[in-house]
């Protein structure tokens, strides 16, 4: 007999694995750096935060004591919150720094930052 919480955790883990593979394929195949940032966001938020939420739900039903379950649950939630808070800041800083350092925007359609900083 499988519980409803375990089923929800498995669904979240499956969504997370799908998002991780899709983001990694996008990061392999996309043409330039600023397009690859979108795929990296899919890989980080979809592929790492959603499995961590699923693992937090899963850890409430493992055969262990309540203290050990609470340890796994709280640590998974803390790591998910850390990744959600710190990943956009790092990505934004890297995008700005890469544009300033002269990383080429190869199939260029529109570049407002270059026009503004000229």
């Amino acid at each position: 007999m499988i519980g409803i919480a375990t089923l929800l955790a498995y669904a979240l883990l499956a969504i997370g694995g799908f998002c991780a593979v899709v983001g990694a394929i996008g990061l392999m195949r996309f043409p330039n750096y600023f397009v690859r940032l979108h795929a990296a966001t899919v890989a980080v938020i979809g592929g790492s935060v959603i499995p961590l939420l699923g693992l937090a739900i899963y850890s409430l039903s493992i055969p262990a004591g309540w203290d050990e379950r609470a340890l796994y649950f709280s640590n998974a939630l803390i790591i998910a919150a850390l990744i959600v808070l710190t990943s956009p800041v790092g990505t934004h800083a890297m995008a700005r720094a890469a544009h300033r350092a002269g990383v080429p925007v190869e199939p260029k359609v529109c570049d407002k930052l270059e026009e503004a900083s000229r």
Partner: protein, 86 residues
């Protein structure tokens, strides 16, 4: 245990990101690939901690998430102004 099958797409994604980290044409590509694979490694470490009952891996995952953030910010600062710590 069914939890082990969910480690397979995470490991496949980390391997594909390692390709981009090795073959990336510019430095920001490598930094981006390392950052994304570190976040995926955090989820993988929590999965292994729950699977094997080794709760010391949770501490490693927290430290890895924070170190990835610090490293990305330091490298962004280095690329932007070529000077760290002003």
């Amino acid at each position: 245990m069914m939890l082990a099958y969910f480690a397979i797409p995470l490991v496949a994604a980390i391997l594909m990101l390692m390709y981009r980290a090795v073959a990336g044409p510019t430095i920001p590509d490598r930094v981006l690939a390392i950052d994304a694979s570190t976040s995926l490694l955090c989820a993988l470490m929590v999965l292994f901690a729950i699977m094997y009952g080794v709760y010391l891996l949770l501490v490693v995952a927290v430290a890895l998430a924070l170190l990835s953030y610090i490293g990305t910010l330091v490298l962004a600062k280095y690329l932007e102004g070529r000077s760290v710590g002003e």
